[in-house]
């Protein structure tokens, strides 16, 4: 069964249809790529899935549970985390604190617990810290916990966003252009991290521009163009699809 299923989603802004009848399904345990030229509607679809926008029509389900109409924090609680295309870290908090914030949704301490700091709260706080350290190490940021988030190198900021998202214990992690602005060597390293994540049991939805990376990494790929899905399937097939080639190279189908 599909972990994430998008069913005939349409999103209109006034008269403009940013998405039209887009359907796709992401299976548990795969890396699923969503590609398309600039303005194809990738980020709009992404925002419809993660609760920032509400789809005009259509449905999005995570593990069978309907997602639309839910607030972003409720969607995170269901197990769907995301990163942002333009990095949105908590810039003036330390790297570790950023990851600790990600644990919020899986922890419970309330005002009374925080003020009295009883044994339960102390244990929970220690667990949050430990898990945050683990995740920092997992994404390759060991020892950088005390650095301010906006003082991290660009590639490290991307990694930190992933660690922060992982802290919410997602079943599905959606990454919006995670290698944008990186050099080829960094891209390869990020690709390795993505494989490690998938092998660790996290399903990945990758939104990318960089066709080469997506083709090399993804188990299955969908292509959007002008708000419509023009192809879906294993990377090899999609690469040869004439409609896809036309969308990327322009003009009539090659």
């Amino acid at each position: 069964m599909a972990l994430l299923s998008v069913e005939k989603v349409t999103k209109r802004f006034g008269g403009l249809a940013a998405l039209e009848d887009v359907s796709l399904s992401v299976r548990a345990g795969e890396i699923y790529g969503l590609i398309g030229p600039n303005g194809a509607g990738k980020t709009t679809l992404f925002n419809c899935m993660t609760g920032l926008y509400t789809a005009t029509t259509g449905a999005v389900r995570l593990d069978g549970a309907p997602v639309q109409g839910l607030k972003p924090h409720q969607i995170v609680k269901l197990g769907f985390a995301r990163t942002f295309q333009n990095i949105r870290l908590f810039a003036n908090m330390t790297a570790l604190e950023n990851v600790m914030v990600g644990r919020h949704v899986r922890t419970r301490a309330n005002v009374l617990g925080a003020v009295l700091r009883c044994a339960g709260t102390r244990a929970e706080e220690a667990a949050i810290r430990d898990r945050a350290h683990e995740l920092m190490k997992y994404v390759g940021l060991a020892g950088k916990g005390r650095t301010l988030a906006n003082h991290l190198a660009y590639g490290d900021q991307r990694r930190l966003e992933i660690a922060r998202a992982l802290a919410t214990e997602p079943k599905l992690l959606a990454l919006d252009e995670p290698v944008a602005g990186m050099n080829p060597a960094e891209r390869v390293q990020m690709g390795e991290l993505f494989r490690k994540l998938r092998d660790g049991g996290v399903t990945l939805l990758l939104i990318e521009h960089d066709v080469k990376l997506v083709m090399g990494l993804c188990d299955r790929v969908a292509v959007l163009d002008y708000g419509r899905k023009i192809a879906e399937g294993p990377a090899e097939e999609v690469r040869k699809n004439p409609a896809v080639i036309a969308a990327y190279l322009g003009g009539e189908s090659a």
Binding site: P72, R82, H104, V111, V115, N150, H151
Partner: protein
């Protein structure tokens, strides 16, 4: 001096004991050294520290600019007056009235917070400013058709605090010395202020405090990390307002008289100035700001006496000078210590980073991507 400070930092227990002795002896030192009027000033310092700590939860922790904070102070004060004065003939004990006042203010914090959830920055400031004024104007006009607040005349003869039959309303005579009620109120206010400091510090360093900081930094990212931003913002409003209401109740009992004039916009701005001047988000900074902005105007009164003694008349009214000095202090602060006198770790980094190398590198990277 620096070596002494370092030594104290290494011995937290000794520091705490010295601080406790200082705080316990402070009213006597002030009373005998400078006169009993300074004990009263101390009481007000503590009230403003309490207010500033409350507002700091809203503004410093959660980043919600609230310009109507004094309304919660007013609510706490009026509730105390309603339940413990001849106005309605009710004389409930203070330990019952104070929590009710704090809770009422907290409830109004949520009521104010709810419609402003979608607002940020300037817009939020304007709406909260309006709320503060609405409460004050209500208090000013609710003497008809039903006399709830006694209008601009204010409410009088409010019961003083009384603990186990000992009333704070009369001076105490012991060992041939007379201690006015300001001494008792000092210790009462000190207890509540220490409690507020404790609560604020614990909250700051907790799951809740991190969620507030995340909302302050980037609300959309906070929501995307699973933080219920609506509830967390309402919680910040409610917590801040509760402290405001508590301070209001204490103020009413202390003064014995309240009127709408005590709760005007200037008071809201004054409390905000304390936070900004001292260092937003940082409890020691907030305390310092409240102490300075309450005590300095009092000290300025001596300038009036000084002018009378030297010039024979008052050439510059110290009250006018007060506003001038506030202005100068704030401008100087913006120039020399933009993050406040004692900034929080985060604010310090925020401001320091602006000319830091790392930030420049970052900027060039952003340029490259744009």
């Amino acid at each position: 001096m620096n070596r002494a400070l370092d030594g104290l930092r290494k011995r937290p227990r000794l520091t705490a004991i010295l601080l406790a002795i200082l705080l316990a002896a402070l009213p006597f030192m002030m009373g005998f050294g400078l006169g009993n009027s300074w004990v009263r000033v101390l009481d007000f310092v503590l009230l403003y520290v309490l207010l500033a700590i409350g507002l700091n939860i809203v503004v410093g922790y959660a980043g919600l600019l609230d310009l109507g904070y004094i309304a919660f102070y007013a609510l706490g004060a009026y509730l105390y007056a309603w339940l413990a004065s001849p106005h309605f003939g009710l004389h409930l004990p203070f330990w019952l009235v104070l929590p009710i006042g704090a809770m009422l203010a907290g409830l109004f914090g949520v009521l104010l917070g709810a419609p402003t959830l979608r607002l940020r920055g300037d817009y939020l400031a304007i709406v909260t400013l309006g709320f503060g004024e609405i409460i004050r104007i209500f208090m000013n006009n609710l003497n008809a058709p039903f006399n709830l607040t006694n209008g601009p005349q204010g409410m009088n003869l409010i019961d003083p605090v009384s603990i186990a039959g000992f009333s704070f309303g009369k001076p105490l005579h012991v060992f041939g010395m007379t201690f006015p009620p300001t001494y008792f109120y000092y210790y009462l206010f000190l207890a509540f202020t220490l409690l507020a400091i404790f609560v604020a510090l614990r909250l700051q360093d907790s799951r809740i405090g991190r969620a507030w900081a995340a909302i302050r930094e980037d609300e959309i990212a906070a929501a995307a990390m699973g933080i219920n931003t609506r509830n967390m913002k309402l919680l910040a409003f409610a917590m801040g307002a509760t402290f405001g209401g508590l301070a209001g109740g204490l103020f009413a009992a202390f003064q014995g008289f309240i009127s709408p004039e005590s709760f005007n916009l200037w008071e809201s701005i004054l409390v905000l100035c304390m936070i900004v001047l001292g260092g937003m988000g940082n409890i020691p900074g907030v305390i310092l700001g409240a102490v300075l902005l309450t005590a300095i105007p009092e000290a300025l009164r001596y300038l009036g006496d000084f002018q009378r003694a030297t010039l024979g008349h008052v050439a510059v009214d110290p009250a006018d000078l007060r506003m001038l000095l506030f202005g100068v202090a704030l401008v100087a602060m913006m120039l020399f210590r933009p993050a406040g006198l004692l900034p929080s770790r985060q604010r310090k980094r925020e401001f320091a980073a602006e000319d830091g190398v790392a930030e420049q590198e970052q900027a060039s990277l952003y340029d490259a991507r744009a």
